[in-house]
Symmetry: C2
Amino acid sequence: MYIYDYPRPALTVDCIIFGLGENSLKVLLVERADEPFKGMWALPGGFVDINETIDAAARRELEEETGIQSMFMEQLYTFGDVHRDPRGRVVSVAYYALVNLSEYNVQPGSDAHRAEWHEVSQLPPLAFDHTLIFETALKRLKGKVRYQPIGFELLPEKFALSQLQRVYELIIGKELDKRNFRKKILSMGLLIELPERQKGVSHRAAKLYKFDKAKYRQLEAEGFMFEI
Amino acid sequence: MYIYDYPRPALTVDCIIFGLGENSLKVLLVERADEPFKGMWALPGGFVDINETIDAAARRELEEETGIQSMFMEQLYTFGDVHRDPRGRVVSVAYYALVNLSEYNVQPGSDAHRAEWHEVSQLPPLAFDHTLIFETALKRLKGKVRYQPIGFELLPEKFALSQLQRVYELIIGKELDKRNFRKKILSMGLLIELPERQKGVSHRAAKLYKFDKAKYRQLEAEGFMFEI
DNA sequence: GCAAAAGTGTTTCCCCTACACCCATGG
DNA sequence: CCATGGGTGTAGGGGAAACACTTTTGC
């Protein structure tokens, strides 16, 4: 049994890129330029090169689509139904990524194809099994945001507590009590209060904070569990 | 860009099969019959057929190794380092499975190769990147057992509460208070008390229970969260 | 001075934890 | 009768949830 004797599925990555809109959670979709599903919206993705790890392929796709080199990214699940691609057997490893739109001013569409941010609650029909992939990603995000500090990845480095609270409310999908939220998040001791404040707002300017990654890693190693 | 123009990685599945020993958690390992890593222990696995889903390939491997047709199984993670297999580019989708040893009397080694149950705390060196895969599986199991009712999968259909408690203690790795454990698990209302009792024990026979899957699914749909 | 969001404490209640003794059964 | 695990209740503490008003700032 030599490993080259077997016909092989093609291997791709697909990326679910979440971003934060004004008052909604968004996902980056691309319009398919070719058949199959020409003209339909799809998740950005592409083939895994024979000399590149799957993670590297996902990073490459993320950068191609957004121009951002380092963002939070995590493998989601591998989809391998026999008929998920009409062209033949294609197995896809899905990744989800979180990006801060306001800081980077992401310009989708720098590539040849059209790309747009869509509200997660109003997605168009998607090509292939991408609706299933997207739903899997959203479910994972909702589950994970409560017990891992990934909400910060959607915000700029410096943020106000109300922004952070809005992130959680958008993802979890229910309102949180302001005082209890602040108490809880501050009591973890994982936020560094900055000397600066919000600028250009027409009301009292909020204190800005940043997430203390080093401290989180230390606490995590000691058995601390993040939880909202 | 036609999908057949790309050189493709080979695609395999690897299975981490957990079973419950007398007083320990065990994993099924096979001894490699061929190079590379001939004679070393490895996770059972094999190639994904071009006409079979990845899940089906994993199920097939599980059945080949254990003779059991339906056991709890879940995709774990996909491992795709470029040099993880010295024969060439091989991407492996790992699955973990939970099996109840006492009920099925699993006979590893029915196949041509040697297979044995090993205590998870005393594993030999493994072939390929299988130590990494195994550690990923164990971490997942430890994390998941607390908030999904998968502990039951390691037990026979009818079990005593003390058996269930032992499962949790083994996986989580710390002792639990008997009264609190019983209170919590019974208060969820997910166990059906059976009219029968343990047999053949030289002390007071324990009540037997079974897990109420239908009720769990119903509660889950209503937003209920299992948690130990 | 008004609109809009920032910021702040206290009480109540429930759940988690800690903890020790009697009971049933087989040998 | 003894060894082995089965089975049970309560008190205290801590964290989660509920809840409303004052402060700051720009216009």
